[in-house]
Every structure is written in structure tokens, then in C-alpha cells.
Symmetry: C2
Subunit: 177 residues, 2 copies
């Protein structure tokens, strides 16, 4: 056990929702003093960098939390217990209509470790072909746009791509990771 | 107004905490149908990529949400209304003891746009010098470690660096952004 470990004394659920749960736990600092820890529980997300003929598929959608439209790689929340790779394959197909022969894992990262337990599984689509069109959830409204990878990288610098997972995916790809 | 805009009908606060607030809003989809939107409010974060003599300063700390130690660039939550650059400067000094003559903005990104309004302001430290040692909050337990930038980039590939803002910062730096 590390010298920095904090122990859970009691998990206290405040809210159980559709996307997130919220806890405010009683915990113990490494020196034994009590503390509170606010934790957002999230089942995790899966996303796909899909580059075809040098163009990356980005999804433009309104994000309620910011009141803005964002450009993001296709992504979605995991169902509890779902294989992240299958989820990524499904989201690619549903949001863009594209099909990948396989997905290559790029990385798994933690978007907001200070208060959330979400893990994001990032894949690259291999051998992409046209599928049979979008299949959106009833509350999804989005548009697929294609950008040359170099242009998308430049859009990060201009603040036109602001989504963290999309930035990580594009930069990993550009570095030939 | 975009064709994808969702309207707020009513904001409903479920929890107001120290780090986050939680709302479950009544909202309206672009086609006029009602929907719920679970939103985590967060005041935003500021973080600093600090490279000195080719070595990047990373902070090792236990993250309660994951029950793991993570390596991250120095970072902290904004106080309400605080200038992100001043917050980044403060966190660098408090967590590492290092001082920067100035900070260069790298980017602003959105770590989890599906359910949180957090914005992360990312800076690069310029002209770094030794300060007067760490000044940690009473509930902060962490250790500063230095890694050659190339080694840190390799650690992303090996899953030894998993924090999203740290991955984004290192890759932006490596691409000479």
C-alpha cells in the first residue's frame, strides 16, 4: 500500500441517475484524519478515431453543459459491463454510418481524476467502409463532418476543437502512436 | 441559433458541494420534445506543463475516485472568478516549489462534455527557477517526480501516464505546439 492511500470509511450515495451517480464519501487521509470525497460515478466511455483517405470523421453536436456545439470523435457511454471495443464499434456505426473491420486500442485515459471515476477507452478504426447510414438514439441530434487530419490538428490550436478525448486522439495519431 | 440547440426549461439542483454541484435539468430537445440533462457543475481547472532542462515535473498523488496513484502535471481547481493563469502559477508553486517567470497558454479544453461544464486551462511554464519549496493544502499528499520528456511520452504508450490533461499537455509540447 502506498504512503498516500486514502481509505473509504463509508460510501454515501446522494443521487443515482441515468448517466452519473454522485457520492459524498466519508474517507480517511494518509495521516488518519477524516475527510470528505465527492465522487461522480460514470460507467466509462468508448471512442473511435476514424481516418479514411486522410480525413477524420468528427461529429458535431450540441453539448448542453456548455451551451455550445462541439466537434468530437464518435463516442458513447458504456452500458454496465459492456466490452469497450464493442461499444466503440457500435458508436462509430450508429453516429457516422461507417463500419470498421477492426479497432486498434490507442490508450485508456482518465479525463477528470479529481472527482470522477470515468475511464475513456480510445480506439483507432482499421479498414473503414461505408455502412448503412446513421442510427441515432431518439435524443441524439448530430452531423458528421470530415476534415483532413492536418486541418483538424490546426483546429486544436485555433480552439475550434476543444473536446479532450478528440484532442488526445488526434495528437496520438499525429505522433504515429 | 443552431438546429441542434437544446433549451433549458428549468434548472434543478440536487447537490451543492465543495468541488462539484449536481443538477438534473428539465430541458427541451431540438424537436421540442422534453428531456432530462444531468449536469455536474465544476468551477474549472488550471494546469501547467513545466519542463526544465528537458525534464517534466509530474506530481504523484493518490486519486480516491480510482483508488490508484496517478502521475499528473501540477493542477488545481479554480476559485470562483479566479484568473486561470494565476491559479496555474499558484498550483505550480504550491505543489512543486518551482517558480515560472511567465506562463504561455497552450489550450483550453473540455474533459467530459457529456455531463460536466468543466473547462481546463493548460499552460506551459517559461523560465523556471527553484522557489521556496512545496506549500500543500492540509489534505494534499503528493510527491514531485521528474522525467525526461521522451520518457514521459513513452509512459503514455505503456499506460503509466493515464491522466487526460497530462497526456494532452505532453503531446502538444512534443508536437511543438
Amino acid at each position: 500500500m502506498s504512503a498516500f492511500t486514502e481509505k473509504t470509511v463509508q460510501k454515501n450515495y446522494i443521487y443515482r441517475g441515468k448517466i452519473v451517480n454522485l457520492r459524498c464519501d466519508d474517507a480517511e487521509l494518509p495521516d488518519g484524519r477524516p475527510c470528505k470525497r465527492e465522487i461522480v460515478e460514470h460507467p466509462g466511455g468508448a471512442c473511435v478515431l476514424c481516418v479514411r483517405d486522410g480525413n477524420v470523421a468528427l461529429v458535431r453536436q450540441f453539448r448542453y453543459a456548455y451551451g455550445e456545439e462541439l466537434l468530437e470523435i464518435p463516442a458513447g457511454k458504456l452500458e454496465r459491463g459492456e466490452d469497450p471495443m464493442l461499444a466503440a464499434m457500435r458508436e462509430l456505426r450508429e453516429e457516422t454510418g461507417l463500419c470498421a473491420r477492426s479497432l486498434r486500442p490507442l490508450t485508456v485515459f482518465y479525463p477528470t481524476p479529481g472527482y470522477s471515476d470515468e475511464k475513456i477507452y480510445l480506439y483507432e478504426a482499421v479498414d473503414v467502409s461505408e455502412g448503412d447510414g446513421q442510427h441515432l438514439d431518439v435524443d441524439e441530434f448530430l452531423r458528421v463532418e470530415y476534415y483532413p487530419v492536418d486541418e483538424a490538428i490546426a483546429m486544436i490550436g485555433r480552439g475550434e476543437i476543444r473536446d479532450g478525448k478528440t484532442i488526445a486522439a488526434l495528437l496520438l495519431y499525429q505522433l504515429n502512436y
